[in-house]
Subunit: 370 residues, 2 copies
């Protein structure tokens, strides 16, 4: 192999042995890296603490290797060359690993000379992988270049487009980008508003940006997801421009008291019903003072299911300037996947309702076709 | 190798090629598995849909391999034997992969005859990895059996104890369990209330169980985490016995309107301050009607920091029957890690405050020692 990337084992305790392993594999000895030591002390200082003596070991690196600076934690990475192999050791915690890979390791990976690979991804919601495959048809043939593939993850389907070739007089980066543009146009033509983003833009970010464009505000009223929709929206930096807040109405009492769901509604239809989802969403707009509100009420399990409302039954309400729409979802799976799926279903429903006029137009066109 | 476990590539689209790869590697052909086909149709039926024709391909398996039933999705697994190697192919989505591994694959993995490995893990909060290493001292020596190691992840440190040996007249499973018990006693003696659970019990679950034991209720009032604490608590099945709900007071207006934070407090001390965290927690107990409330207000970044309150400054308030306590945390990292860390810090603070009397006693003992 040309490159080895390892993660973890760079902590301060006796079971963290990556440093020793790299030194042993390269017949090297460990030395203290002066700059790393200063950086580790600075991390502790930013947390208003002194560096404990036990963390000093994290400044060690093999003498012929380089330390990779880590502004997010106390474990510097290591870049060693063993034989012809580039070895990168990164810390394990995702909050330290991901920035280090993105900013320090990835730029050092050298592509094969002359080889050209360009990819583009398109996020889709409110539509299943099978339906996408049916619509894309021959576009997904395995012999095509660009090659189109799909991946489903928690309610979002991602279309990946990949152009591959050898840089020649016949093909260069510009041509490849043109091929991606053309493929994206074709895919978007077949998927319509279901395609919510190009690139790594998430569904929450797409919703936040759309609301920002319109100058409208959003809130959530959550029962079975109990904060997960609010958490997903506010993961987007700058979401405070559109997100005002929310109500976690886990108990029926709080559905009444905070969101103004009527007692008769809860008694007659139950907490998991179109009627309750509708009143939660409308109540959210009123109490929290905003144009849009997403409500979620469902049975995440493992208990609480019945024949009429099995575990995985989730009602989602979207209140907006056009009124309120509710949708029933029947999901399968364990408690946490059902909840995660509910978040995507809720934000997918919001996205589709934000584009309600376009959805209507598309339906109209389809009706005319048949 | 003896075993290969693969994940993914079992979807319905043309880029899902695991089935073909296993057939090619074992010189086999693909056949339709009748039971799998019925199960896939049943999954669609539970979602109130017909199986699209494109999903039929998911019922294919190499003729000499076995299908592994998947009640959580439309991708059955595959168990093939190629040469001497057991090959297990599981679907990629975590909600399908994890149950299949736990319930179907793991029980089929055969341990080496006579080899004995027993492990135990102990979850710790409110204490860093370095401080744990200092307290455990010689217990963490690499030559010991049981071997003790630590892993830090998002504010929780896990101690792993591992006994390894060959089953002989001198050692059997019972002895190994006794050694684990003894090691756990020693570790818990040194870590006190910081050790919140034995086994894979999560910090949220430990808090939920402690509150259930006392018959007390919990709510949350969240700003920068905006639902993540509520989501973490309700990930625990049965949490409805103790969790009533919460307020996502992302905007200052809602901090006032919903949680009753005074305007003077916001103007004088700012939204990220001990005073605001205190009023959010107290207001939560009052508005939501419960004994305990966890509040979180902080600057998750990337914007909004200042010299006095840099990004990563988070105030946590815990209101309980004993009054209200606030704590300042100075975290480093990107937006989402800061928020995740805040959730653990908040629940760690709740756990410590639930055991306030024990913490006091320990401090008293330490004072007498010096």
């Amino acid at each position: 192999v040309d490159v080895i990337i390892s993660t973890g084992g760079l902590g301060p305790t006796a079971d963290d042995l990556t440093r020793q392993a790299i030194a042993a594999a390269s017949g090297d000895v460990l030395v203290e890296d002066v700059i790393s030591l200063e950086e580790i002390k600075a991390v502790f200082a930013s947390r208003r603490r002194e560096m404990p003596e036990v963390n000093r070991v994290q400044a060690l690196r093999p003498s012929r290797a380089l330390a990779i600076s880590n502004p997010h934690g106390t474990a510097p990475g290591i870049h060693a060359v063993i034989g012809d192999v580039d070895v990168f050791c990164a810390p394990g915690p995702p909050g330290e690993l991901f920035p280090m890979f993105r900013e320090k390791i990835s730029p050092m990976l050298r592509p094969e000379p002359g080889r050209l690979v360009r990819t583009r991804i398109i996020g889709c919601c409110g539509i299943g992988e099978s339906e996408i495959a049916t619509r894309l048809g021959g576009l997904m043939d395995r012999e095509r270049n660009p090659l189109v593939g799909t991946t489903a993850s928690g309610g979002v389907v991602t279309c990946r487009v990949r152009v591959e070739g050898v840089m020649t007089g016949q093909m260069n980066g510009l041509d490849a980008d043109g091929m991606l543009d053309e493929a994206e146009r074709e895919i978007r033509g077949k998927l319509g508003v279901h395609a919510f983003a190009t690139g790594h833009n998430s569904l929450p970010r797409a919703c936040v940006e759309e609301l920002k464009k319109r100058g409208q505000k959003l809130s959530v009223v959550e029962s079975c997801t109990s904060g997960m929709v609010g958490a997903a929206v506010t993961e987007v930096a700058g979401s405070s421009a559109v997100f005002v807040g929310g109500l976690l109405t886990y108990s029926n009492e709080l559905k009444e008291k905070l969101a103004g769901v009527k007692r008769e509604t809860l008694e007659k239809h139950g907490a998991v019903s179109a009627e309750t989802a509708r009143e939660m969403a409308v109540g959210g707009c009123q109490t929290l003072g905003c144009e849009w509100c997403v409500s979620v009420t469902g049975i995440a399990g493992p208990d609480g299911g019945s024949a009429a409302k099995p575990v995985g039954t989730v009602w989602i309400g979207i209140a907006g300037p056009h009124g309120v729409v509710t949708r029933r979802f029947a999901m399968s799976g364990e408690r946490q996947p059902v909840r995660q799926w509910s978040v995507t279903a809720a934000l997918g429903a919001l996205w589709m309702d934000l584009h309600q006029s376009e959805v209507k137009m598309l339906r109209e066109q389809e009706r005319q076709k048949f």
